[in-house]
């Protein structure tokens, strides 16, 4: 309980600091908001009107406070860039709310692929003992890790989309319209995300297991008369999972924060794409909320990893 309280306080403090930093960052970087929105063709009167509408005349401290009070009250503000209809701008909550499921589902499908493939693969790698398999997996995983993800994305599109016609490139199906079609489409971007991560996780697990295999408790287990299978799954795997869980945590945080490259390549309207466009168009209300979201995700995932540690290795909570 004490642990939980401590973590929560850290979370709040971090979010606060990050919000200040995010806000300050945009006071410093060049690029005028009004110019970004209106371009070069608007009348000076319209520029003045918009500057007033956005409250840009107020000092930064006042604007920060206004924004923060709004956020605390649950009002995330409205986008500077995206319209909702003819006269209203899109509320940030609605904008992000619409894109978040895409990123979250992409993360879920990717993670499922990673866990379901990499862990059995890692175990098989260690157990088989075959030199040929060892060398083959070594080369394959090395190569998969080396391919940059945008290239992998294009490759997947080309092979599965254009040659095999398993999916229509760019034919994103909205989750609101056809959920299973949506998941089907997600499979391919998820594959592009998962492939290098599977390779990394499998290697990681293999190395971690090999380290454990040489330890005393394994020898003890064998001398007790445990079968190889039991030693592997009950003793070695459990202990070897510790660093792998950390690694998976990092991966989850990365994907949930928006797989920018993959979202671009597959035209997925997710968080990553929104972030990029919001930064380049100086859509501060959106950027600030997204930064808070990403910070929250990272901290929260690490918190979950902490909890998982305790589940896997009860010694930790004893300390």
């Amino acid at each position: 309980m004490k642990y939980l309280g401590k973590k929560t306080i850290t979370l709040i403090m971090t979010l606060f600091l990050v919000s200040v930093a995010a806000f300050l960052a945009f006071q410093i970087i060049p690029g005028d908001v009004v110019m970004s929105i209106l371009g070069t063709e608007a009348t000076p009167e319209r520029e003045e009107q918009l500057r007033e509408e956005l409250g840009l005349g107020d000092p930064p401290a006042v604007r920060y406070l206004n924004w923060m009070t709004g956020v605390l009250k649950g009002d995330l503000g409205v986008s500077y860039r995206y319209s909702k209809n003819m006269n209203e701008m899109m509320p940030v909550a609605e904008l992000i709310g619409d894109k978040l499921p895409v990123t979250l589902w992409l993360a879920a499908v990717s993670l499922a692929l990673i866990v379901l493939v990499s862990i059995p693969l890692g175990v098989l790698w260690v157990r088989s003992g075959s030199r040929v398999l060892d060398a083959a997996l070594g080369v394959i995983t090395q190569a998969t890790m080396a391919v940059p993800s945008f290239f992998l994305g294009i490759l997947v599109t080309f092979v599965f989309g254009i040659i095999l016609k398993f999916f229509a490139p760019g034919g994103y199906i909205s989750y609101q319209e056809d959920f299973s079609g949506f998941l089907g489409y997600l499979l391919f971007p998820a594959l592009s995300i998962a492939l290098p991560k599977i390779a990394m996780t499998a290697r990681f697990l293999r190395n971690s297991m090999l380290t454990e295999v040489g330890t005393d408790y394994v020898r003890t287990a064998y001398s007790k008369g445990c079968t190889k299978r039991r030693v592997m799954y009950v003793h070695v795997l459990r202990n070897a999972m510790m660093p792998v869980v950390t690694f998976l945590g990092m991966i989850v945080a990365e994907i949930v924060a928006g797989s920018i490259v993959i979202e671009q390549v597959f035209s997925l309207p997710g968080i990553g794409r929104l972030l990029i466009s919001a930064i380049s168009t100086r859509d501060f209300p959106v950027v600030q909320i997204l930064i808070l979201y990403i910070t929250f995700v990272v901290i929260f995932v690490y918190f979950l990893v902490d909890i998982l540690y305790r589940v896997i290795d009860p010694r930790i909570s004893g300390k």
Binding site: P30, N87, P169, R273, I276
Partner: protein, 564 residues
Amino acid sequence: MKRCFHGKKSLCVLLVTALLAMAVLGGCADGTGESSEDNSSKESTVESTQTDSAESGETTGADASGESTEPEGSESGSAEDAASGQETGDRYGGSIVVGVQQDIDSLDPHKATAAGTKEIIFNIFEGLVKPDENGNLINAVASDYTISEDGLVYTFTLRDNVKFHNGNVVTAEDVKYSLERVSGLLDGTPLISTLSTIKSVDILDEKTVQVTVENANTELIYSFVAAIIPAGSGEDETADPIGTGPFSFVSYKPQQGIVLAKNPDYWQEGLPYLDQVEFKIINSADTALLELQGGTIDFYAYLTDSQAQALQGSHQVISSPTNMVQALFLNNAVEPLNDVRVRQAISYALDKESINDFVGGGNGTLLSSAMLPTLKEYYVDLNDTYGTTANVEKAKELMADAGYADGFDMEIAIVSTYEFHMQTGEVIVEQLKEIGINATIKGMENSSWLDEVYNGRQFDATITALTCDMTPGYLMNRFQTESSKNFINFQSAEYDEIYAKAQAALDPDEKAGYYKELQKILCDQAGSVFIQAPANQTAISSKLEGYKFYPVYVQDMSTVYITE
């Protein structure tokens, strides 16, 4: 033990690899990310009015006689379609997806300034008049108009039974409201600068609206393409965009696109053919190519040369001129570019032909001043002034004259997501080396470019393209000494004087004469180095017919139909 050691070592290798992979990922994220949605080339914007001067003589002539021509828009717009419309009833129906590069900047037709938005909403909204594919103005919401002798009073007669997408007939009140809104009479904030000259809008009877302006200008009629919207809709908080165009608004999703449906009540008989058109935002050129090949988009403009080649055979790839003027803009206020001899030297040093060959596949039209050849009446070919190939001797001479025989350093600011300008910049850097100028490219983000270069005027040189709206004054206007858009700080008292005369001239020939003089001054003074009007390559699915290329930045989908 040995295995353990080995394990740790490869663990290290693995971690390093993982880190590297992440770095690469992060790096790529920046790269591809920027090339995505911020391509809102807002500096190149169309005021969406236009005339191809070849035939605009008709309109201007009508102005002089105080009587407008063009009986019914449908005749000039789609005579051919109307004629063959009955025998080809099977043209109707179906839906297509058009890939576009930029997201919508506003769903309010009066506030939208990005060219990428205007090309889309051209299908939703119409003004009293609208451009056709030949560059003429045709009557749209108005069926007729007259302009008084002194050019100060415009009288528009509304077309019978033009309906908004909500089913209401367009009334004189709607027209009054729309014009008062754009001109700033409503709330003091003009939204379209050329229309801020409007002094009053009066309803003469339920079909006639009279507009009185402050200054006579024969180019003003082209600004009446400003959208007519239902009275009050500019203040209605929940209003969907409603216009009178061939397609009505269905839905818009940020970063995904906009869906339009057929307007069954459209005033042009027989149009449009398609039931639905989706404009889908494609975030990168690579994705666009894949989607064209995969068939998820049917239509995509502004292809690169290599993409165009990749699509030959599978698609109709059509090259058409753009209404943009690409130039190496020089800041006339900084040393040593404030010396006219240095600017002329640079003009001589550039080899425009090889630039065109290298970045545009030789499809562009070479220019030497800020006017497009499509504005035939006003355009004067000045390509002989500095030649279209490099004249290094002459350039070096001028450099020596100016006291820069050894050259100097110069920075060329370019928005890094504009591949076309970046490539142009690379060629120019090489060409400038010949005369000792050590130029470097400074890649910038669009927002920063707008702020620092365009607005702040803190730059040596920059490469960009300005979009012309087909009124001759549109591009020439910005080179007046005091113009807020004169970001190159061009200074010429003579230019200012003649520009004022050109604006005031009511006689078309006299006006054209002034504009020709203006181009010559701009060219002789080497205000900047004007390069070319780049070509636009469009890929169209082989099953589509009927698309019309406009000499302005619009994508008219009303005449497109599916052949299969």
